[in-house]
Symmetry: C2
Subunit: 287 residues, 2 copies
């Protein structure tokens, strides 16, 4: 096994460039605003299969993954550039299908670089603008915040969801508009791991209700918490019970799955009131 | 052979997005300015060899190719993001060498995505700002303009120049500051092909002096004109003889190799006054 972990590398880059953000780099272009930049690759045999999913899915997923990152920062996507590596012998129709798939994800395509290589691969970089009140950060969670999610979790790979998901831009904008948003992240590494990203950044804990977590395709609780590639939003917002100036509700499309606690630590509570500690990628069993 | 040609694809994308520029996309972020965006990949076995050149060269070349594009538009590079695909089993030291190579190219690294795959590959996207007077375009050549180049041409692959070149940002800025710049492009496809990009965009012709073309490593004239991967600048500027308001000279680092003509057509003239027609990637022989 390699000694190399992506999270470590991202932190290493971040120590060298303060612009590195949670899901996107945040680049000051005042007075225009803060430019968001995010980049992701889709590789044959790793994220999709060229012979099974086809070039359209490669273009679509490469852009959609980035749009999910922009949504998590509360941003507005503006432009996408694509660098495609096509298998040798690829046809013009396949190349066009790839670029049309990229466009279909819903961001204006303004540039493309096309090469041929031994492995099909599409890299997309998406540029967007941060919300005027500032980007939404993982560190913004507050004790008492409701923990909300879009969609459902688990079994993304066997159901094909990972190749066809719709980035949650509309939902993110609606939640941002409520004014109660604390932290937000897109769930790509798995619900438990991405919740921990918020907890570590904010210094707080969480209490999840097992029965409240929406599961895709009859996923088990473990699959819902840990499978990953869900590309849903995980957000914390001011809770109705945590405010004195009246109720706050959340827009359509969100489900409450728990509450931010003073912490530290995260637990999942079942219908019988039994608690289990939640760690990255799984459970620790305890009384 | 595939029916797919990169130039065709770039044109196809350009018909769908007017922001697609010559070497970069040009994105209006007023009042901040025009944002330049360019993306390029370096693939193992295509542009470099991982086992021979090493991860540092992959990072360096991926960013440097983009900086050469930014230079050709007269722009100022600001930020780079990297998407690296490492061969399985790559070490942390190799990943860091790759990112340090990217930094060494001279642009601020603000984001990175790291994956593992069957083929090593680095994609870099560089963001910059266009000059206040507007980007330098290929279409700006005028009859009578002197044709200038930086550096020398040919045999870039056997000499290793293609992996170690210095992007011509300083030279581009100095030429821009003269106020006489017409068209500019970076020479990656070969001097003859990239000159034709200027001639087609401007609707004019060219007369090159064979003896004036600087050659790398005793390259033949054919190699200098057609090898490619030189990453030098090819520019047209107001000529001293083409102006009535006094002489214009050009900054250090540029060599004059010919003159823009009314056209159409391009010729190369040897020391005996013999002309040969210059086409993309080679000569057509004529009297």
């Amino acid at each position: 096994m390699s000694d190399l972990h992506e999270l470590d590398l991202v932190r290493w880059i971040a120590t060298r460039a303060p612009e590195v953000g949670d899901d996107c780099a945040v680049l000051a272009c005042e007075p225009w605003g803060d430019l968001l930049v995010t980049t992701d690759s889709v590789i044959d045999g790793v994220h999709l299969h060229w012979s099974e999913h086809g070039p359209d899915a490669f273009g679509y997923k490469a852009v959609a993954r980035n749009l999910s990152d922009i949504a998590a920062m509360g941003g507005e996507p503006l432009w996408a550039v694509i660098a495609a590596v096509l298998p040798r012998g690829a046809t013009r129709a396949e190349a066009e299908a790839l670029y049309k798939g990229a466009e279909r994800a819903g961001c204006r395509l303004v540039g493309g670089d096309t090469s041929f290589g031994p492995t099909a691969m599409v890299n997309a970089t998406v540029l967007g603008r941060a919300p005027e009140r500032g980007t939404v950060l993982r560190s913004g969670a507050r004790p008492g915040d409701a923990i909300l999610v879009t969609g459902s979790f688990g079994r993304s790979l066997p159901t094909g969801h990972h190749a066809t998901f719709t980035p949650r831009l509309t939902e993110a904008a609606a939640l941002l508009a409520t004014g109660g948003l604390g932290a937000m992240i897109d769930v790509s590494d798995g619900l438990s791991t991405d919740l921990w990203h918020i907890l570590e950044a904010s210094g707080h804990g969480a209490r999840l209700e097992a029965a409240a977590i929406p599961r895709r395709d009859n996923a088990t609780l473990e699959e819902a918490l840990n499978d990953g590639e869900d590309y849903e939003l995980l957000a914390t917002v001011l809770s109705p019970t945590g405010r004195t100036d009246g109720d706050v509700s959340w827009p359509a499309g969100f489900t409450r799955i728990g509450t931010i606690t003073d912490g530290p630590g995260a637990v999942v509570v079942d219908g019988h009131g039994n608690e289990r500690a939640l760690v990255r990628g799984g459970f620790e069993h305890r009384a």
